[in-house]
Assembly symmetry: C2
Homo-oligomer: 183 residues x 2
């Protein structure tokens, strides 16, 4: 640690003018949604953001499932304890990978998921990463409920809706996790 | 596929006013850098963006190494064929995970990496994801060159510099990869 990391004022001043940095820090796991519907075209905008992610060897081993069917959302909520808020969401996006296209599809799909979460925050929407991969039971529940064909694997189910305002971003900054020119 | 996806005008109009969506689509893998130095405080801003990512069970299994040592950057360029542009970069950020904190550290660290890439784009910097994990030889080269202690594993080495302008974003939109309420 060769330089001081006491640079919060600099970061705050950058955040005040850089909308992307602001979105990155304002993004939060939103688990509580209002009844306001989410337009299909806005969900497509989120998927388009996901598909702009980088991927290893530019293989793009991803697929995106937009779910708006209330019955299927409730069926998934019952089977997925960590995603039960999807029953109260307006929609969900499932990001899936094709292991035949890339063995490391889950890394590329994680980058795509982060793009979707940030795009949602920037549009005033709330979203949350609920993990499917690497849990076999969760992946299987999604595959069966949505009739996903082989060989696709769900990485994540992202419930989406307009936030009630009760979920807040966390300040996770921890200087001890930064190593400058030496561990 | 129940609705038309011909919504490019809507997306373009959103991109024109939403800086985050614009950054997501303008992000590119930048492999060519000018000689302009990158300030340490800007590298710390990138790391702060990385640390704002979500993580499974909020475990935050990540560490960030800021590398500015020219000799070590050249040593890494020689050992890592897919990261040889780091010899011409001004700095690099290595995102590492702690497998003892989370078995799925590489998913959380992928989200953190995507935050860093987007923050860099938004600040006029160029960066590129060069994979370390899951390649044992690449991880070992980084661990040995930078004296990384156990049990940390490098996911990615991100060369950083100001772009020459020769690297362009790709339009990866592919309607066939979107499934709306049915595969």
């Amino acid at each position: 640690m060769l330089v001081s990391l006491m640079m919060i004022p600099q970061i705050n001043s950058l955040m005040a003018q850089n909308e992307t940095i602001k979105t990155i820090h304002n993004r939060k796991s939103v688990r509580n949604y209002t009844d306001q519907p989410v337009k299909t075209e806005d969900l497509v905008t989120l998927v388009k953001a996901g598909m702009a992610a980088p991927s290893g060897m530019d293989r793009r081993p991803w697929e995106f499932y937009i779910l708006q069917d209330r019955g299927q959302m409730e069926a998934l909520a019952q089977q997925l304890p960590y995603a039960k808020m999807v029953a109260n969401a307006q929609a969900a996006i499932i990001v899936l990978g094709n292991p035949d296209v890339s063995s490391y599809w889950y890394l590329d799909c994680s980058a795509a998921t982060q793009n979707i979460l940030l795009a949602a925050e920037s549009m005033g929407l709330g979203a949350v990463w609920t993990a499917a991969y690497p849990y076999e039971d969760r992946m299987s529940a999604i595959i069966k409920t949505l009739n996903i064909p082989e060989p696709y694997k769900p990485l994540v189910l992202i419930p989406i809706g307009y936030p009630t305002g009760s979920d807040k971003p966390k300040d996770k900054w921890n200087e001890a996790k930064v190593h400058i020119n030496g561990w």
